[in-house]
């Protein structure tokens, strides 16, 4: 039982919330907020206790120290999102849907946990679907807003398409190897044409989930339409979980055709980083802006995967952790400002520092961390990613990625310019954010500042990672 600790704990609190949901009248739903956060915090803390690695269901489910770490990282992210979303959930139009938000989010998290722990493609697929479908409901959470509904529909359609493609690939893998178990599939991957085709379908399906170019077209619209807290969830947790399992499957199942997927990744990385950056340059809406910036960031994460060494996997996990804190910091600020004023454009942020200095500082730190400016955690993450890729000799790729960091610095600076440099006749008025938002942002800032200096975090991830070379 202890082997499935993370999932079981999450299921327990989901069930508790479901039962409470039934008995709580609509006017009282707000009372659920604090217990939900506390339960999530308890789960997060419990997740860090040393667990027992093991295998369940005849190998369909496997738990290792690494998967436990990955689940803990996701738990932290979800906890921060829970805390950050309180201000939004307390609004009038959400008052009868509060518990649904938690239940939906927790079920996707459970799905991701199963996905990460999967030992065969069937389990992987079930986890993936469980992780995807509730998110579409979440994206359409602001059901009175046309854009939110549009986001939900777009997400469900693209997810269905990508799942179909992925499933088609998986069926070919089953057809050529006769098994779904990772451990059995791996030695039978020979690089036969059908298997290559299968792999490409699998790759395309995953690329949809991670929103890599050219499979990214849904991202900006969905991110813009969905409520901010759901967007941050999509851009951080969903993406992080997909990257984790993608790395694991590439390293444990498809390692025999590493040469092939390295070439494929090479092209995809170039496209993802460059296109993501170039589109981010033109955005005015901050949610769309962060959407494209997160596409580019996903491209950077792939640099670690292409590194394919123990160092490479470490940097993937490490950067994902850093990225969770940085991106949630940025989204937290965008969220609270959007809740209080309804303003989401970069122009609206003109002169923000003069009226809301603390929020501007958090935003600045988060964006600098995303841009990879020392001494913030993002710098360390990016540096290690480049090192991992360079270790395999991808110097040209690293150079192009480096040039792209300059492009990304430009658009991050545009936001900082609006907040600190520009003056405005009608700046966003000074407001006091609530305690939850402050705690949430403070957690992000702590992560951004501390993770880089505390090398033990990196060393711990390293000790659990593995690679091909």
């Amino acid at each position: 039982m202890l082997i499935m600790r993370h999932e079981l704990l999450l299921i327990i609190i989901t069930v508790i919330l479901l039962i409470v949901e039934i008995f709580l009248p609509d006017t009282q739903k707000r009372k659920i907020i604090l217990p939900a956060i506390l339960m999530m915090a308890a789960v997060t803390v419990l997740g860090f206790f040393p667990g027992t690695p093991g295998v369940l269901f005849g190998g369909m489910y496997q738990s290792t120290q690494l998967t436990m770490l990955l689940k803990n990282i996701l738990n932290i992210g979800v906890l921060i999102i829970f805390i950050q979303s309180v201000d939004w959930l307390k609004q009038e139009q959400n008052k009868e849907k509060i518990s649904e938000f938690y239940i939906l989010m927790l079920s996707t998290l459970i799905g991701m946990n199963y996905m990460i722990s999967s030992g065969d493609f069937l389990m992987f697929y079930i986890g993936l679907e469980l992780a995807t479908i509730p998110v579409a409901a979440l994206a359409a959470f602001d059901r009175m807003k046309e854009k939110s509904a549009e986001a939900g529909v777009k997400l469900i359609f693209t997810s269905a398409l990508s799942s179909g493609i992925l499933l088609y690939g998986l069926s070919m893998i089953y057809g050529t190897t006769g098994t779904m178990y990772f451990a059995d599939v791996a030695p039978m991957i020979t690089g036969a044409p059908l298997q290559v085709l299968a792999f490409i379908f699998f790759f395309a399906g995953m690329a949809f989930k991670i929103s890599l170019v050219p499979f990214h077209l849904w991202t900006a619209d969905v991110y813009e339409g969905a409520p901010v807290n759901v967007t941050s969830y999509l851009s951080v947790i969903s993406k992080g979980a997909a990257v984790f399992i993608f790395t694991i499957i590439l390293y444990t199942v498809f390692y025999k055709i590493a040469v092939m997927w390295s070439d494929l990744l090479y092209v995809i990385i170039l496209l993802t980083i460059t296109v993501g950056n170039l589109f981010a340059l033109r955005q005015q809406n901050l949610k769309r802006f962060l959407a494209f910036s997160s596409i580019a960031q996903a491209g950077f994460i792939l640099l670690g995967i292409i590194g394919a060494s123990q160092l490479g996997m470490t940097t993937v996990v490490y950067f994902a952790l850093v990225y969770i804190f940085s991106n949630l910091g940025a989204f937290g600020v965008v969220g609270i400002i959007s809740n209080r004023t309804g303003k989401e454009n970069i122009d609206d942020y003109d002169g923000l520092y003069r009226t809301n200095p603390n929020l501007s500082l958090v935003m600045m730190l988060a964006l600098f961390s995303l841009a990879g400016i020392p001494p913030l955690a993002g710098f360390f993450g990016k540096f290690f990613l480049f090192t991992a890729a360079a270790k395999q000799g991808y110097y040209i790729l690293v150079l192009i990625a480096l040039i792209n960091t300059i492009v990304s610095l430009y658009y991050y600076l545009l936001v900082i310019k609006a907040m600190l440099l520009n003056n405005s006749d009608q700046p966003i008025a000074r407001f006091k954010s609530d305690t939850y938002t402050r705690i949430g942002l403070l957690m992000c800032v702590a992560g951004i500042v501390i993770i880089g200096f505390a090398s033990s975090v990196y060393e711990f991830v390293y000790s659990l990672s593995f690679g091909l070379y």
Binding site: I373, F384, A390, L402, I403, L409, L421, Y458
Partner: protein, 503 residues
């Protein structure tokens, strides 16, 4: 704990102190106290260093402290200094100290201003004391990024444009440096063993020549951007012109030296063979930069632009001297960095003070300032004379050493380059004397200027500290040049081993 950690701890504590300061006045005094302590520890460091050397301690670097940071990647917090870095630390402390007083009039968001300024200084100090490429790079970027806010918020003119241009160009340079550093790291242990970022250990290895040839241009151009190497200098005039006084001082005085120092310490020191093979390309660029900067300065009418172009010329001379690959010229390069650092900081401080009074920087709108503000005018003349290399000031010592060293290369190519570069001295005299003539002498063109005040006490502190530096080096250069010479041993040794022809 090594004395060098003070150079990180003091500014950090100062920044925390500023953060909790209540009033505008308190912010300034906390900064003054912090940076005075910093200057004192820099002087103490110089004295301690000289004492150690006199006592016969011949270690390559002194005051070493080595802490493991990232174990698996072999990243260390490894600090230590040789004669060159001690000299650079002294320069930085002096300029930062003067810069605090030069920004006494900052009223708007003063807390943020001084924090950014000291953050920049922390980056510079960190860069000079670190011997681990990773931490060096970390501090390098740390020094660059506050410039964006400093110019963008407190600057003048097209400050948004200048700040963005400067930041992007410098960060572009640092992207090149990053690639170079990672490349060096990958080849840091050709004989097997763990890879390392340790500069001293890497310098004992020989990196394969193909790799060197690939990496050297990245590193040299990357650092060269910050060192205002032609044609990557374009951020510098715009940036300086828009920056507030203290930022111009720090930037031209110290930050641009990071470029020269990086070229010397990383690019040439670690990749000597490639430096020798490819040096001629950059030597041509540096020579063009020397003469181009000087000619550019003649054409300008804005005081800050004049000085910015003159900085391009002087900083190009640093790269020029480094690429001569002999001890005398290298020594000259370091001397030039220090001399130009103090001198240009003085220039920018004076320009800021004059601009603060006249509200114009166009020289043909001013005149006869000698009568109105004699103290500032005399200081300007001193800075100008130092800039054109008058004996008795630091500029003469540095340029003399450079050209004597450069002339030791007997082949035609180097000779021609040297002659062209040396002719810039004449051009420098033209623009310096023209400015002095138009700006300070003659009739007062605008009657509003007649009752402008002369320097206040804080202006005087700043100016006198810098003039003291210039004359000290000018009158008694030997201790400094000996100290630098002591630091040049390893790099010269490495160059001679790599390229025996240089003998």
């Amino acid at each position: 704990m090594s004395i060098l950690t003070l150079f990180i701890i003091i500014p950090t504590l100062t920044m925390i102190g500023i953060l909790f300061s209540k009033s505008h006045m308190q912010v300034k005094w906390v900064s003054v106290v912090g940076m005075s302590l910093q200057l004192l520890s820099a002087i103490a460091l110089i004295l301690l260093y000289l004492a150690e050397r006199r006592a016969g301690n011949m270690a390559e670097v002194l005051f070493v402290q080595d802490n493991v940071w990232y174990e698996t990647l072999n990243i260390h917090f490894y600090i230590g200094v040789d004669g060159v870095s001690v000299a650079m630390i002294g320069l930085t402390a002096l300029v930062v100290f003067a810069g605090i007083f030069a920004s006494w009039n900052i009223e708007d968001l003063s807390r943020e201003f001084f924090i950014s300024l000291i953050l920049l200084a922390t980056g510079v100090f960190g860069f000079f004391i670190c011997l681990d490429l990773f931490t060096m790079f970390l501090f390098y970027e740390l020094a660059v990024i506050p410039m964006y806010l400093l110019i963008g918020i407190w600057g003048s003119g097209p400050r948004h444009y200048s700040a963005m241009k400067l930041t992007l160009m410098l960060m572009g340079g640092s992207a090149f440096i990053l690639l170079g550093i990672i490349g060096i790291y990958m080849y840091s242990a050709p004989g097997g063993g763990p890879l390392t970022f340790d500069l001293i250990r890497i310098s004992k290895q020989t990196i394969p020549i193909d790799v060197q040839r690939f990496l050297f241009p990245f590193l040299f151009v990357g650092f060269g951007v910050l060192g205002a190497m032609f044609p990557f200098h374009t951020w510098s005039p715009d940036g300086h012109a828009s920056a507030p006084t203290a930022v111009s001082m720090l930037h031209a005085g110290v930050l641009m030296k990071l470029g020269g120092y990086g070229c010397y310490r990383v690019a040439v020191f670690l990749l000597p063979e490639a430096a020798h093979q490819l040096g001629w390309i950059f030597l041509i660029l540096a020579t063009i930069g020397v003469i181009y900067g000087a000619l550019g300065a003649i054409w300008q009418k804005d005081l800050k632009y004049i000085n910015a172009y003159s900085s391009v010329s002087h900083c190009a001379l640093v790269l020029f001297a480094i690429l001569m690959f002999n001890q005398t010229a290298m020594n000259g390069a370091i001397l030039q960095m220090i001399s130009h650092g103090i001198m240009t900081a003085l220039f920018f401080a004076l320009i800021g003070m004059i601009y603060g009074r006249t509200h114009t920087r166009y020289i043909n709108e001013m005149g006869g300032l000698m009568k109105v503000m004699p103290f500032l005018a005399v200081a300007y003349v001193i800075a100008g004379l130092a800039s054109l290399g008058l004996p008795g000031f630091s500029g003469f010592v540095a340029e003399m050493t450079i050209f004597v060293g450069a002339f030791q290369n007997a082949d035609t190519f180097h000779r021609v380059a040297t002659i062209i570069a040396a002719s810039s001295i004449v051009v420098t005299a033209v623009y310096v004397l023209r400015v002095v003539g138009v700006l300070l002498l003659g009739k007062i063109k605008n009657e509003h200027f007649e009752d402008l005040p002369d320097a206040r006490w804080y202006d005087k502190v700043s100016v006198i500290a810098l003039i003291f530096g210039i004359t000290l080096i000018g009158m008694a250069p030997l201790w400094l040049s000996d100290m630098i010479n002591g630091g040049l041993g390893p790099i010269m040794h490495k160059l001679l081993v790599a390229v025996p022809v240089l003998n």
